[in-house]
Symmetry: C2
């Protein structure tokens, strides 16, 4: 491959790499949420887990990881921290390997407390990104999730 072709191709990465852009978007959006949530002592990552737990009722780690497309080890350590804060509690289970957990009353309280701030941040994100963002993100995530292992 001639030198000039290589140059063009490297420039192609710079101009078009989806991995780069998704990661930048992630940093920007995560910072937006984390900044707003800072007074409450938690980050968007933990809010996501609280909400997912609320949805599932009694949550099995492997199941939640499938929903959130997250490695089980990542979830495992976050659940530890959130149990230590009294937001989650482990439930008994006939299967000795399972470690299902659910929201505590405190965990539920946290969710209620952050609701107005979440709304503010969400509105800001929609204003910045455009109204069609949500549809767009949902389609992309659904499509990629269905392909992922």
């Amino acid at each position: 491959m001639p030198e000039s072709d290589t140059l063009l191709n490297i420039d192609n990465i710079a101009a078009n790499c989806i991995g780069l852009r998704v990661r930048m978007l992630n940093r920007l959006v995560t910072n937006l949420y984390d900044e707003g949530l800072r007074p409450f002592g938690l980050k968007v990552s933990q809010v996501n887990i609280l909400v997912a737990t609320w949805k599932l009722g009694t949550a099995r780690p492997a199941e939640m990881c499938k929903v959130l497309q997250m490695d089980v080890s990542t979830l495992s350590r976050n659940v530890d921290r959130m149990k230590a804060r009294g937001w989650l509690e482990t439930m008994p289970d006939p299967d000795g390997r399972a470690q299902p957990f659910k929201l505590t009353a405190q965990g539920r309280d946290v969710l209620e407390k952050i609701l107005p701030v979440w709304r503010e941040i969400q509105d800001k994100a929609i204003t910045l990104l455009g109204a069609e963002t949500l549809d767009w993100l949902n389609r992309s995530v659904r499509q990629l999730s269905s392909q992922a292992k």
Copy 2:
């Protein structure tokens, strides 16, 4: 606020949170690129830095962090690792505080070697996400970058 309203609002986070969806998209897309790049012993994060360095020629950390919307401390440690691998080298600078760096020949070689694989992964991502993805991502990132501090 009545109980039922709270329930609806928590469900609203579950159904609509942009922070959640962007983070899921980031995990899915990052894993897609990292999996493809694994044979080459680097990840998409380092590819992004290599390409940005190639673009900038001589890169100042603060400048690159503005471009990539990344904290300077995050870049600092990655540049350390990449210098240790011989892909980047620090340049002298009249300003004693500055630590500008540039690509080494080895760093340039790495970029050339991964080009075909990057192309494959990028094609797969475009197929999965749709052709209009890139425009949308570019618009979103540009819009958010211009607002960020």
